[in-house]
Amino acid sequence: MLNINNLHVKLQEEDKAILKGVDLTVEDGQVHAIMGPNGSGKSTLSYVLAGRDGYEVTEGSAELDGVDLLALDPEERAAAGLFLAFQYPVEIPGVGNMTFLRTAVNAQRKARGEEEMSSTDFLKTIRAKAKSLQIDAEMLKRPVNVGFSGGEKKRNEILQMAMLEPKMCILDETDSGLDVDAMKLVAEGVNALRSAGRSFLVITHYQRLLDHIRPDVVHIMADGRIVKTGGPDLALEVETSGYVGMVEEVA
């Protein structure tokens, strides 16, 4: 599914290397978790994969099912099946949540040469999915993320993911700022989407989320590299003894 090879990234504006050779392969249907201290480059990795400006890839590659992601515009990556749930979802005053989602769904369909979703089908689908995430109709009408609480924003990300049905989902600290109930909702939303043809890369600080979304593989990222890879137990190890040992191993 996702193949990242020796990825080196620096900031465009200054000579600061952030990713220093990331190697990562996510197979079809797998859930991988990335943990790591603040500032280790987890969000940068997710932004670079999604195609945000401001970064320069100096070496390496990233492919989604053999397609060179780095050569595509952000919208093309989305149409190719990549989705990023933002650590900090953006507020867009004046653009209705519903309008936004319908535009996005249909733009992706159009890019893939599929037929647009009728407004009745769209309404039916979004209502059902919003309900299971406890997003009420009023929230759907409001401008994108404007006035949403932290938890509402994160649930809104999962709603977008559910509507867009991507094959590669990256979740950047979707659990941060959520209380236990909200986290369970989000986890249920994610688990409902798990399937043989869909993979997840879950970035998190805490073992907590991984109790609900069981990962197949856990990676530890430090200083722009994956420094350790293991099974679900690795997350437990982080929980009890922190990153100190692992990070020092490489340093």
Binding site: P74, A78, V90, I92, G94, L101, A107
Partner: protein
């Protein structure tokens, strides 16, 4: 005070090219007075404070600069709305294209044909509102208009108008120079919607005087376009009675020079005046909104909402003032002017002003100028929305506060479709 020689000469040259119209003898005195006003104040130059941001030279010169005709294959705006349609071509009434000037609840006449008698309801308004609007700031093109307007509409609503009155200004001659003057009176408790659209002429000078009586309501929506080289100086002078409502929205797409002045006087308690504008311009587009709202009664509300989307060298100007007189307590005044710059070459010049003499008022104003929010753009694109479409969504979101000032959803849908057309044609 004697005018500067250059100004005097420019004014004389312009006036020589015009002749006072014959029709509507009841308006004769008003025309003579207005001519006197123009001579006394002279036509503006860039040196006048009120024209600091907009060069009036091409509006002053004797001949209208030529303007090419724009032919886009677009369905006419407001075409799907039930309306009474009145057409002027290059400022000349087109009887063949117009509907009969008959509408339940409303009487409509043409200025050029409004009788040789000395009595007419419009006599108290024609040129009178314009003259009042000359202080504290001179508006010479409006006085010129009162003196020389060749035609216009005299509309009087005595009940709820059965449908909107729609005035279309077509442009067919590349050198046309049109001067039209409308007088509108909405009687006590009556309701009228006026729609205006079209490029009008190579150069267009239009004045509209509106008397909104107690409890009356007047809605005005206009779409100025589309011929890029056209020029226009327009004025609205409105006086509002108690409990009355006045709402005016203007969409401007293209136009090498547009100056829209709106002068509103709230003279009856609890009146409401909203003036809004959305302008989108590319290249040598120059658009100027100059608004003056005077609160002269208790507990009135006024809103000014002006948004401009500019790119590729386009210039936007906003001069907006709220004047609250001593006894206008409980005034609620709001003013916002914003520009969205789609690149680094556009220019926005704003002069927001508050002048308040009452002590119990709530007035706020703000003016901002910014670029497209890159984070929002990336967020939209990351969901699969192509860059151009994402930008359009953000542009429309920026304009939403102004467009929301249009009450009728069918009319605002029309305005939105016109904006969409512009955005499609002007993608980078």
């Amino acid at each position: 005070m004697a005018l500067a020689a250059a100004k005097q000469e420019a004014t004389a040259t312009r006036l020589e090219a015009l002749s006072l119209p014959e029709g509507a003898t009841w308006a004769k005195a008003a025309r003579q007075d207005a001519l006197g006003r123009v001579r006394a104040m002279g036509l503006p130059t860039r040196r006048d404070e009120y024209w600091k941001y907009t060069n009036p030279a091409t509006l002053v010169q004797a001949e209208a600069p030529a303007a090419c005709l724009f032919d886009a294959d677009e369905s006419p705006i407001f075409g799907q709305i039930d309306r009474l349609r009145i057409v002027f071509v290059d400022g000349v009434f087109d009887a063949y294209a117009s509907d009969d000037l008959a509408l339940a609840g409303v009487t409509i006449e043409r200025l050029a044909e409004a009788g040789a008698t000395d009595i007419h309801w419009a006599r108290d308004i024609y040129g009178a509102f314009e003259a009042r609007g000359q202080t504290p700031v001179a508006r010479p093109f409006a006085a010129l208009n009162t003196a020389f307007a060749s035609d216009g509409l005299l509309i009087r609503a005595s009940g709820k108008a059965a449908m909107p009155v729609s005035v279309e200004y077509l442009h067919r001659s590349e050198t046309s120079d049109a001067i039209l003057h409308h007088v509108i009176r909405v009687e006590e408790g009556a309701e009228l919607t006026l729609l205006e659209n079209g490029p009008a002429a190579a150069r267009f000078n239009k004045v509209m005087e509106v008397d909104v009586a107690d409890g009356a309501s007047f809605h005005h929506v206009r779409a100025q376009g589309r011929d890029h080289e056209r020029r226009a100086a327009t004025h609205v002078f409105a006086r509002l009675g108690a409990e009355s409502t006045f709402k005016s929205f203007t969409l401007t797409v293209n136009g090498v020079l547009t100056r829209n002045e709106v002068v509103v006087e709230l003279t009856g308690d609890n009146a409401v005046a909203h003036v809004a504008g959305a302008a989108v311009g590319d290249g040598d587009f120059h658009h100027d909104d100059t608004v003056f709202v005077t609160h002269d009664a208790v507990a009135c509300e006024s809103r000014q909402v002006f948004k401009k989307v500019l790119r590729n060298g386009a210039t936007g100007v906003f001069q907006g003032k709220i004047l609250v007189k001593k006894d206008a307590q409980k005034t609620d005044g709001y003013q916002i002017s914003q520009s969205l710059m789609l690149d680094d070459n556009a220019q926005f010049l704003a002069k927001p002003e508050l002048e308040i003499y009452a002590d119990d008022v709530a007035c706020s104003h703000g003016s901002t100028s910014g670029a497209i929010d890159e984070d929002a753009l990336f967020y939209l694109r990351s969901r699969g929305v192509p860059e151009g479409q994402a930008q359009d969504l953000l542009v429309l979101a920026f304009l939403a506060e102004a467009i929301d000032e249009i009450d009728d959803p069918a009319i605002s849908a029309d305005i939105l479709s016109r904006l969409d057309g512009w955005l499609q044609r002007h993608h980078s």
